[in-house]
């Protein structure tokens, strides 16, 4: 029997994507019912977006990141899935892109989605200024004025970045517009929550305006470079042994419940349930 509030979520797999298992796991912890769907299954029709409420473009190295991260994945989907993704969005569903998925969303044009145009590539995510792949934890600050569904009620976050091409780039007008629209949902920050202001390694890639993630004007399409699914358990946090020891000394209960990473996914699930 299908319960009325089951939130069906699709996580893309295949062609070098590699965060599909933990992303599916994180969404399950958040209460969703998740299916991992191969890109080709969407294309050949053996899976249909009609069955889902949330679509996730996850992390990985689709097509080896050759010719620009996310570029060939965007080409393949644009060429072969027709209008189905746009229809999916029009229905009020949610789309999340993480890392390689974020790169794909901007190459598809689903982000930033100015003026209801979900096909135009007007921002880019390009090579890190440091010149190479980097795995490190970063502090993030959520824009409280943004209507991004995924970051609602959250303020300061910590997740790992793991990318070679994460520098958010566009012309100054576009950046201005993103800021003005409050589409800049998360920014790289110092540990006190103030913007990183380009300082390495707090801003790990040289992103303009410390942009770590943006949403479309509706707040329902969201892409970010850091990996919330990599904080699916408290032992994922780089300081967890320190936090645990401190809590023990202060006789505090050590919070081993759902992590802040899961909150991102739970926001999405809750939104679908409420609509």
């Amino acid at each position: 029997m299908e319960h009325y509030n089951i939130v069906k979520t699709l996580v893309l797999t295949g062609y070098g994507l590699n965060c599909d298992n933990e992303t599916a796991y994180a969404f399950e912890l958040a209460g969703a019912k998740v299916t991992r769907v191969h890109i080709n299954s969407l294309i050949d029709g053996s899976a249909s977006l009609d069955d889902f409420k949330i679509m996730v473009f996850g992390g990985g190295f689709s097509w080896g990141d050759d010719h620009g991260a996310g570029v060939i994945q965007a080409v393949r989907m644009k060429t072969n899935t027709g209008e189905s993704i746009l229809e999916f969005i029009e229905k009020g569903n949610l789309v999340l892109g993480i890392c390689n998925g974020f790169q794909t969303l901007v190459n598809l044009g689903l982000l930033p989605g100015f003026d209801n145009d979900y096909k135009k590539r007007s921002v880019a995510i390009t090579f890190n200024d440091c010149g190479r792949f980097r795995n490190d934890w970063v502090h993030l600050k959520v824009n409280q004025k943004s209507n991004c569904i995924f970051t609602k009620g959250l303020d300061k976050l910590q997740f790992p970045v793991r990318h070679g091409e994460g520098k958010f780039y566009s012309d100054s007008q576009t950046i201005e517009r993103l800021i003005k629209n409050n589409q800049v949902a998360v920014r790289y920050a110092m540990d006190d929550g103030n913007p990183a202001e380009g300082r390495f390694p707090f801003n790990p890639n040289g992103s303009l305006y410390d942009i770590a993630g943006i949403c479309d004007p509706t707040g329902r399409i969201f892409g970010m470079m850091p990996h919330p699914e990599a904080l699916n358990h408290f032992t994922n946090h780089p300081h967890w042994t320190r936090i645990k020891e401190k809590a023990k000394r202060e006789k505090d209960d050590f919070d081993s419940g759902p992590t802040i990473g899961i909150s991102i996914f739970k926001n999405a699930v809750d939104f679908i349930r409420s609509t």
């Binding site: 062609y15 590699n18 050949d44 190295f61 007007s122 792949f133 793991r162 000394r249």
Partner: protein, 997 residues
């Protein structure tokens, strides 16, 4: 007519790749460049219309926000232009994905022979840059002539319309595949053929081979399939299978061991059997968690009732030494196929690396093919791209610098996987082929890659012969195959699976056919990268990213359907039989027909003379050293030593958190910058259980005695596991031997007998220590020829042999990851303990090496005593009485106290007078002795009583406290302050050497 698209970042964008080149030119050669801009070149050798070209230019190859592109040369300012492209036949990964994208967006298939090639043009600005500088940057930084070709243009030599021209690195062999029959009328004639064809047959094997093919019954059977003398493909098959790489002839050899001091003679018959197999099988009986060992591509242990973990380790030394990036990426991607080919297939969950290279700043007279700095950079990047693009976290790694690796570097790669315990209610670790099963090759195609390994490197290049001996791994193709095969496994479609590594199909089909008792292969069905390969080449090619799978006839359609879904090529190339024969046909005609069990009997055992001279008889001694006065400088100098200092720049390039399973990361502590003792992952996301993993490398101890090198390496790898909360009663081991040639030759290898004795001693230590610690050897490999001949100042060559090296890996299951521990000090006021006894054991230490001595007193392992201590510590950790734990490794107590303090960014007040010692009365000995079996532990003061109670009866002493003020203070024996220095100053010294990288 080919088309050449040039793509560059818009001028206002920062060119990180170009800047990287500028930096390296400065750091490598001291050449100052003003700017480097890069142009990516995509050469499309295909018949496309203008509209089609415009579409792919706009939609695939040009980012409208950041890039400009043109089918004519882009106009970018330069003083010199350096163009770098691949040689024919070298794997061009972006070229292949470009074809996929082009075919997709245009809805076409490129015609046979059409292709896309990628290359790069560097526009270099530097007013004082000479032609010589440009040559150097091209040849020693941007390109390796083994796999790449270069063109250099000065300002006046550049035609802005013609650009670089149209360079198509297409393989043209123009050769009709031919099977050759080899005459075997005498041993000498077969030996000559072996030499001429690079077969590398062992002279001792030749009579056995001849006897087989001259046998009356064999000849009669062969006659029925139109064969008489052996064919080239048959001899290639035998040569591959009998090679030391595949057959481990050295470890299975007979060693006549002579102690030259005592005159005592001993025979060590088959080190593999006596020192590896026997103890492991005995332990398998005792330890019910040992699931599968000694026969498959990797060993397996029980993770929980529903899952087994699998582990194996490999080296990829010779190829990495020639082409660092290509060798290393091929190595890591290759080792990842081992767990995939274990049981009915395992999912990859973790990888690790170990690099042994010459000093990064080497400036001596020897000229290795690649300078250690460039070699290390290439190796780091190869493993990075291979691991990251495979989606497998690289959670642990070590780097060791020593001049003995100038001759040949070592690149260790280790892989851990996980499999369900059962598939379709059948045990997942078991597999077999049966008559009628189909032989399927999945993944990449076959080219001239890796044929005869590196021996081919001495061949001269012509313009369009493939550079086959050095490969570039393709993690993208393999990741698709990995996902596909696991899905096929879960549907119960796989009966047998193994990888195509060394020996290619020859080895994978040959070995899998032994289960059914034969096979019949139709070689013309094997998909090729290009035409013109001889049959024997198809059979032994080591082209990467391929697996051989046995599938039942009734499952074929579903298997191929899944293969198509995952965009993976799978081809039926024959079937398994019970004919007793390896039967290979090419277009219907038999080209090989040999008994499947030919290789199992009749071949002579290899024999070695081993002669041991004790360190004392070799003239080693303890140096006569007065006690130091300035301990602060000394400690900082040790922290800055290449083998101790921070290598954060490497770890940060490796994705160590993909799969969401990270529990203990490679770098830990307040600033996430100090190395953890071991890695811990949670490979089954819903489980509280974890896998702990660690490795150790201590080759400098071999300069004294490889016996103690071995036992100390094992002990270190065990302590690393215990330090993070691993279970000392569940530790699996992996031995990776890298040894110089042990075959004695009066001129070519005059000390071969000593190196052979070191191997015998090492294996004995392996057996003793593993039995004492109860470590079954889940997997292991050997690489026996770590020697290089490199030119010196006058063109004379020097043989440089590596120190006898063993990388030992340990793995353990953790019941509750919440109890894991990191090494950083946690809270001010905590008590600092040392566990274990410090002896006068500075031989082979970092301290002695720093002062340019070797010494004599190499650390000894008392495994039985140590193990009880480890159990006690583990018990205390299980009771959550421990705040931090850290083993004392290279560099000794002083260095590792500093690590604990640097991890916590907290101070320490230590009294050396409290350290348990035996026969030690000097501060420098206590601080820098590398005695095994020791830990530094910090605990909350309120845990003192229960902690000491658990540790009672063991060497355990409180030696100080963690302090809030971040000063590192050590009082010596005589209660005088030896060291009083801010922790930050120590950290700066530790980070300085490679901090700018």
């Amino acid at each position: 007519m080919p088309h050449r698209l040039e793509i560059a970042l818009k001028p206002e964008l920062f060119d990180a790749v170009g800047e990287g080149v500028r930096q390296k030119a400065k750091h490598y050669f001291g050449v100052e460049l003003d700017e480097v801009r890069t142009v990516n070149v995509v050469t499309i050798d295909a018949d496309l219309s203008d509209d089609q070209l415009k579409t792919i230019q706009d939609e695939i190859f040009t980012n409208p926000v950041t890039e400009v592109s043109s089918f004519a040369p882009l106009d970018i300012d330069f003083d010199w232009i350096i163009w770098v492209g691949y040689r024919p036949g070298v794997r061009d990964n972006p070229g292949s994905t470009a074809i996929e994208a082009i075919e997709d967006i245009l809805g076409i298939k490129l015609a046979k022979g059409e292709a896309v090639y990628t290359s790069r043009r560097y526009c270099v600005k530097g007013s004082s840059l000479t032609a010589k500088d440009a040559d150097k940057i091209a040849g020693e930084l941007l390109a390796n002539d083994i796999i790449q070709q270069i063109k250099i243009f000065a300002k006046n030599g550049w035609d802005s319309k013609r650009g670089i021209g149209y360079i198509i690195p297409k393989v043209k062999l123009d050769h009709t595949p031919t099977v050759v029959s080899i005459p075997i009328d005498s041993d000498a004639s077969l030996q000559k053929v072996s030499d001429d064809r690079n077969l590398a047959l062992n002279p001792n094997d030749i009579p056995t081979i001849r006897a087989y093919f001259l046998d009356k019954d064999v000849r009669a059977a062969r006659k029925k399939v139109d064969l008489s003398d052996p064919t080239d493909i048959e001899l290639e098959y035998i040569s591959q299978a009998r090679s030391d790489h595949c057959n481990h002839n050295t470890f299975r050899g007979l060693f006549n061991y002579l102690d030259l001091e005592t005159g005592k003679k001993e025979v060590a018959d088959n080190l593999f059997k006596t020192c590896i197999e026997a103890p492991t099988l005995a332990l398998k009986e005792e330890k019910n968690w040992v699931v599968s060992v000694l026969w498959d591509n990797a060993g397996a242990g029980r993770f929980d009732n529903d899952h087994y973990y699998v582990i194996t380790g490999e080296t990829h030394n010779s190829p990495s030494n020639m082409e660092a990036y290509g060798g290393a990426i091929t190595g890591i991607v290759g080792v990842y196929r081992d767990p995939l080919g274990t049981g009915k297939g395992s999912k990859l969950v973790m990888g690790s690396f170990g690099y042994c290279v010459g000093p990064r700043d080497y400036n001596g007279d020897l000229k290795p093919h690649l300078h250690p700095r460039r070699l290390l950079d290439g190796v780091i990047e190869g493993v990075r791209d291979g691991g990251n693009k495979s989606g497998i976290p690289t959670t642990f790694g070590q780097v060791l610098f020593h001049p003995c690796y100038l001759g040949k570097c070592l690149v260790f790669v280790t892989a851990v996987g996980i499999m369900p315990a059962f598939i379709d209610r059948e045990p997942a670790e078991k597999k077999k082929t049966s008559p009628g099963d189909l032989v399927i090759m999945c993944g990449g195609r076959v080219g001239k890659d890796g044929i005869h390994g590196v021996t081919a490197s001495s061949e001269t290049f012509s313009e369009d012969t493939p550079a086959g001996h050095v490969q570039i791994g393709d993690p993208y193709t393999q990741k698709k195959m990995h996902d596909f095969l696991l899905e096929a496994r879960d549907e119960g479609l796989i009966r047998f699976i193994t990888d195509n590594g060394g020996g290619g199909l020859s080895s994978s089909v040959g070995e899998s056919a032994r289960f059914s008792g034969g096979c019949e292969i139709e070689l013309e069905k094997v998909p090729l990268k290009y035409e013109g390969l001889d049959q024997w080449e198809i059979w032994v090619s080591e082209s990467q990213e391929r697996m051989t799978v046995a599938v039942g006839q009734q499952d074929l359609d579903r298997f191929l359907e899944l293969s198509k879904k995952h965009a993976v090529e799978s081809t039926v190339i024959g079937k398994y039989t019970d004919s007793g024969k390896l039967h290979i046909k090419y277009s219907g005609k038999t080209c090989a027909y040999v008994d499947i069990d030919l290789l199992e009997s009749g071949f002579p055992q290899w024999e070695f003379d081993a002669q041991w001279l004790s360190p004392e008889t070799r003239g080693l001694f303890e140096p006569v050293l007065g006690a130091p006065v300035d301990y602060e400088s000394l400690l900082k100098s040790l922290l800055s030593r290449p083998n101790i200092c921070s290598k954060e720049w490497i770890y940060r390039q490796y994705d160590h958190e993909v799969q969401g399973s990270s529990v203990i990361k490679p770098l830990v502590g307040q600033d996430r910058d100090v190395n953890s003792d071991a890695a811990v992952i949670r490979p089954v996301l819903g489980s509280q259980k974890g896998l702990a993993f660690a490795q150790a490398l201590l080759p400098t101890y071999s300069a004294i005695d490889a016996f103690h090198m071995t036992s100390c390496s094992i002990d270190e790898a065990v302590r690393r596991i215990v330090a993070v909360g691993g279970n000392p009663d569940h530790i699996g081991g992996v031995d990776n031997f890298c040894w110089p040639n042990i075959g004695y030759h009066p001129e070519k290898n005059p000390d071969g007998r000593f190196k052979a004795a070191q191997l015998v001693r090492s294996c004995r230590a392996l057996r003793e220590t593993c039995i004492a610690y109860q470590i079954p050897l889940l997997s292991g490999k050997d690489s026996m020829y770590v020697d290089g001949h490199i030119p010196g100042r006058y063109g004379q060559t020097h043989k440089v042999s590596a120190l006898e090296t063993l990388q030992f890996s340990t793995i353990s299951v953790i019941d509750d990851i919440k109890k894991c521990i990191t090494m950083d000090s946690k809270m001010p006021g905590d008590l600092v303990y040392i566990l274990g006894v410090t002896h006068n054991e500075l031989g082979g230490s970092e301290y002695y090496e720093h002062l340019e001595y070797i010494g004599l007193n190499v650390p000894h392992v008392q495994a039985k005593t140590f193990k009880e201590l480890y159990r006690a510590l583990s018990h205390a950790m299980d009771k959550e009485l421990v705040a931090s734990a850290h083993g004392i490794y290279s560099g000794g107590l002083g260095v590792h106290l500093a690590m604990v303090a640097m991890g916590g960014n907290l101070g320490m007040q230590i009294d050396l007078g409290q350290v348990p010692v035996v026969n030690v009365d000097r501060n420098d000995t206590i601080l820098f002795s590398e005695s095994a079996g020791r830990f530094i532990v910090t605990i909350a003061p309120e845990n003192r009583e229960p902690f000491e109670k658990i540790l009672s009866g063991h060497a355990c002493s409180c030696i100080g406290t963690v302090t809030d003020k971040a000063d590192f203070i050590i009082d010596g024996f005589d209660d005088k302050v030896l060291i009083n220095i801010p922790v930050k100053e120590l950290k700066d010294a530790w980070k300085k050497p490679f901090g700018g990288l």
